[in-house]
Symmetry: C2
Subunit: 338 residues, 2 copies
């Protein structure tokens, strides 16, 4: 591994994926693309935390079904979320009873799970792995910021944590599938903890953008690629403000980040849905990858995508102790060809 | 992967390891074996959380030094701890600036990091990986139970979260080392989430023991081995009570779990140090593996060990919401021969 670059087995395919989202996400621009829209923020459960777990289970079961598998055939599960001690995953995907790897990369977790699952597949240690990640607006707000009942006014730089989960079934087998075109996970660059001293928990885009710059830069160098070699470079959770900072950092280095977007920009109507700087959360990038990006790879509209979720690695305790917010970003290169 | 069993590359060696512990651990039966004893519970920092990060850094730097490497040569870091959102690791091992994979398996995290690092090495995706885990009595008590200032009386079933960190440098290279005998990570069994309905956060041994039974049973079946084939089967954090439950579960199935111990039993003098059911915490199993178990493998006293840290996967929120405590256990088989 040089500069965090990981060259994967050339035969790792995303056999199927699925998304489950909340009401607001269902009303957004991508609404018609998600597999499941669950209007009840509680998913019929006793708490929002249990609802988040329910989103994970819904996405996982849908992905398994799309892959034509029974849950037990998914091999093992890599899962993560934003909740303290990964509660969304432990009580969510964990309940499938499969071998379970809990992973934490804040909002970057979707990419971290895909990289680690791909590593297991590359090593021949598993034939299939599932990757499941989630976030929930209500669980995240009350954990990281204020109780929802408090009705605090949101800062203009704030992002809206998506109520969403995404699940992916990765396979290194020669699968029998009706879909001849399956996206391949080709290579990846692991994130590093990058801390530029941002302390505002209502401006996570600013905290994460330097990490995105670091990881995407390293990935492009390792690949000898330029941004225009990709049909899409999608960060996960920078939103509008963090995305502008990222473009500015590349511009300072004389690089135009062509074909750039951010999953947090895609998932909501910025003005109409009053989301300020856009979406964020493990489930934001995961559900957008599943519902929006992968279908465009499968249809041939995209051929090569760099998927780069970013994480703001703060906790309630470290925020209260006035520590700055370290960022991290993982880059996953996904192709789909003949 | 069948039943979670993972057969690793036969050439993955633990090049070096190190431990850094607190005052109480330094006064315990293994005190003379730890690399660093830091008597100040704050490690000279402003908070216990920062002290925990300092323990990680101390252990990581010591392990790197023992391996004869510079920190950058450690490849990448897998790290985890008990704090919400992995704060001990983000601000701890994360600060080394290496590619970073955050992992969460509660007290089982040391084994989870070793398994995932070994998977990366087996896949040829890295030549070396560091695994770093920590726990801190003061950060864990105030997060999971009560503020220390409250002075609550501890239940007889309670365990003492160890103030400790352990770091391991894994390598798949042919390393030049003065020590011809390096322990090898041979194979492993991934944990599953097992929830038997225990809700008492002061009796985590009971919550975790069924997971240990599940994982160790699967590992023995996958290996076609019996307990006596191992010189040591060491769970991580069951302590005295959880350990007795585990032995009882095996006895119910007609199996005598020979050569069994628990890291939480080894690290303290149960009576003299007033630790009730024994030690626990990511750092407990990690520091005991580094300071006590690996040296016995290197010296030839042990030839084959099954290292099985266990995790209680609750969070403050799920405990407050009266959810039961799911357990998990990972088993790592370590050998050292000619």
């Amino acid at each position: 591994m040089k500069n965090g670059f990981i060259n994967l087995n050339s035969n790792i395919r995303i056999l199927a994926s699925a998304s489950a989202v909340g009401k607001k996400e269902g009303e957004g621009p991508l609404g018609s693309l998600f597999d499941h829209i669950i209007a009840d923020s509680f998913c019929g459960k006793a708490s929002w935390e249990q609802a988040e777990s329910c989103l994970q289970q819904t996405a996982f079961e849908a992905a398994v079904k799309k892959a034509g598998l029974r849950p037990g055939e998914a091999g093992c599960i890599f899962a993560g979320d934003l909740l303290a001690n990964s509660a969304g995953s432990v009580y969510g995907a964990g309940e499938a009873g499969l071998p379970f790897f809990g992973v934490y990369g804040a909002c970057s977790t979707a990419a971290e799970t895909i990289i680690l699952a791909s590593a297991l597949l590359t090593g021949g240690l598993a034939e299939r792995c599932a990757c499941v990640t989630s976030s929930h607006f209500c669980t995240a707000e009350r954990q990281f910021r204020t109780p929802l009942e408090y009705g605090g006014q949101r800062a203009p730089t704030a992002q809206w944590t998506s109520t969403a989960a995404g699940a992916f079934i990765l396979s290194a087998r020669a699968e029998k599938t009706q879909n001849a075109r399956l996206p391949r996970v080709v290579c990846a660059t692991a994130g590093r903890i990058i801390d530029k001293g941002v302390t505002d928990t209502s401006n996570m885009g600013a905290a994460m953008a330097p990490a995105a710059f670091d990881t995407i830069s390293r990935h492009l160098v390792s690949r000898g690629a330029s941004p225009s070699d990709y049909d899409l470079i999608a960060t996960g959770d920078l939103g509008f403000i963090g995305g502008e900072i990222l473009l500015g950092l590349f511009a300072e280095h004389g690089v135009s980040l062509a074909n750039y977007t951010d999953c947090g920009r895609l998932i909501y109507d910025r003005v109409g849905q009053d989301v300020h700087s856009g979406g964020s959360g493990c489930g934001c990038s995961a559900s957008v990858l599943s519902a929006y990006i992968l279908p465009k790879l499968i249809s041939g509209e995209y051929r090569r995508v760099l998927f780069c979720p970013t994480g703001a690695m703060m906790s309630v305790t470290t925020s209260q102790q006035k520590q700055s917010i370290p960022g991290i970003c993982y880059a996953v290169e996904i192709e789909c060809g003949e």
